[in-house]
């Protein structure tokens, strides 16, 4: 390292070039860390965090078990002039579902990138996916659901099942202590702060979604 250049900051930088041995050393070090991160995520040791919106994406799971469940309606606004507006006028009535702690078996998440789908699968083995504070805005949820200790028709601003997540005052809401959904399928427009542990992570580009 020619440190003397730092001592004279007024002089123009001379031309330079990339020293490839040094590049390789840095890439190997960074690649080793990245490989470790990917491996630990795929083993379900580390949790990865997702925040997406605007692009609709699909989440399916053969079974979801959750503790702390809230659901209420919301009105989402698209960015003005968004090409996804269509006939909606840029406004979408969506259902917000929030789950404090959830475990999902055979999770599949796919994002349509115009013909090509980015597909993430995890939890296909013995260890399920776990998620914390999963908040999703959906326009479609299907599945066979059962709830425990459910309060229906509670004002959305007073919901307490998921700490920190409430709706607007005067909006219909419901909450439950536990939830179980089999053959879950969601069309989501946003998911946030969903911290996922993804054992058996598999990320691929495919022609079909979930």
């Amino acid at each position: 390292m020619p440190y003397e250049e730092v001592s004279d900051p007024s002089s123009p930088m001379p031309h330079g070039k990339v020293r490839w041995r040094r590049f390789t050393a840095m890439m190997v070090a960074a690649g080793a860390v990245a490989g470790t991160l990917v491996a630990l995520t795929a083993q379900g040791v580390l949790a990865a965090q997702f925040s997406l919106s605007g692009m609709p994406f699909t989440v399916t799971a053969t079974r979801l078990d959750g503790t702390g469940f809230e659901q209420f309606a919301t009105l989402d606004h698209m960015a003005p002039g968004s090409p996804n507006e269509g006939s909606t006028g840029g406004q979408l009535v969506l259902v917000v579902s929030a789950i404090d702690r959830a475990t999902l078996t055979n999770l599949c998440q796919s994002i349509d990138l115009g013909g090509e789908h980015l597909k993430i699968t995890a939890g296909t083995g013995n260890t399920p996916v776990t998620a914390r504070t999963m908040v999703v805005d959906s326009d479609l949820i299907t599945g066979d659901a059962s709830f425990d200790h459910i309060d229906i028709g509670q004002d959305a601003s007073t919901l307490k099942a998921v700490p920190g997540v409430t709706g607007n005052i005067g909006v219909f809401g419901q909450q439950a202590r536990t939830v179980t959904i089999k053959n879950l399928r969601q069309n989501n427009f946003a998911t946030t702060a969903a911290q996922f542990t993804l054992p058996g992570l598999h990320l691929s580009f495919t022609s079909d979604g979930c």
């Binding site: 020619p2 250049e5 330079g16 990245a34 920190g164």
Partner: protein, 160 residues
């Protein structure tokens, strides 16, 4: 400088992301006439652009900036929702923003490239956990390559 030197530089630009860096303003508008017979002014401008590009880790900074932009584009969660869910949501924005800042600083303050490139690579690695698996792997890879390029760039004048 001849036209051949200005145009036939050894850099391949075909596979680079189409992010045009700010200094393209120095480059004159290319008209059919000017490509056929460059004036002295265009030659000087191209020479200046090339000098600027060669006196800093240009490709490293470009790739690091592009990586940050790509990850930011993949996050796109509305800010009210992010504030709603607390600091974990903000982390999704923090890593790619720092990557963009590091990429630009590598250009405009190349003397500190060591620090910026190492922070940039660390943020690219952190984005795997915080920001959609590092912008679905693309930004993570670009950030690692860009940061390493900036790290490995050295002025030709060696002290020894």
């Amino acid at each position: 400088m001849t036209v051949l030197n200005a145009d036939g530089s050894d850099e391949t630009t075909a596979d680079r992301p189409p992010v045009t860096p700010a200094p393209t303003a120095d480059r004159p508008p290319v008209t059919p006439a000017s490509t056929a017979a460059p004036t002295a002014a265009t030659g000087r401008a191209r020479h200046g652009w090339r000098t600027w590009r060669r006196s800093r880790p240009f490709w490293g900074g470009l790739l690091l900036t592009a990586a940050g932009v790509e990850i930011l584009g993949s996050v796109r969660a509305p800010l009210p929702v992010v504030l709603h869910v607390g600091p974990l949501g903000l982390a999704a924005y923090l890593a790619p923003t720092v990557m963009v800042v590091c990429g630009l600083l590598v250009w405009f303050n190349p003397r500190q490239r060591m620090f910026y490139s190492i922070v940039g690579v660390l943020m690219a690695l952190a984005s795997w956990l915080t920001s959609n698996l590092g912008g679905f792997f693309v930004g993570l890879l670009l950030g690692m390559i860009g940061g390493s390029l900036a790290f490995a760039w050295t002025p030709s004048r060696h002290p020894r």
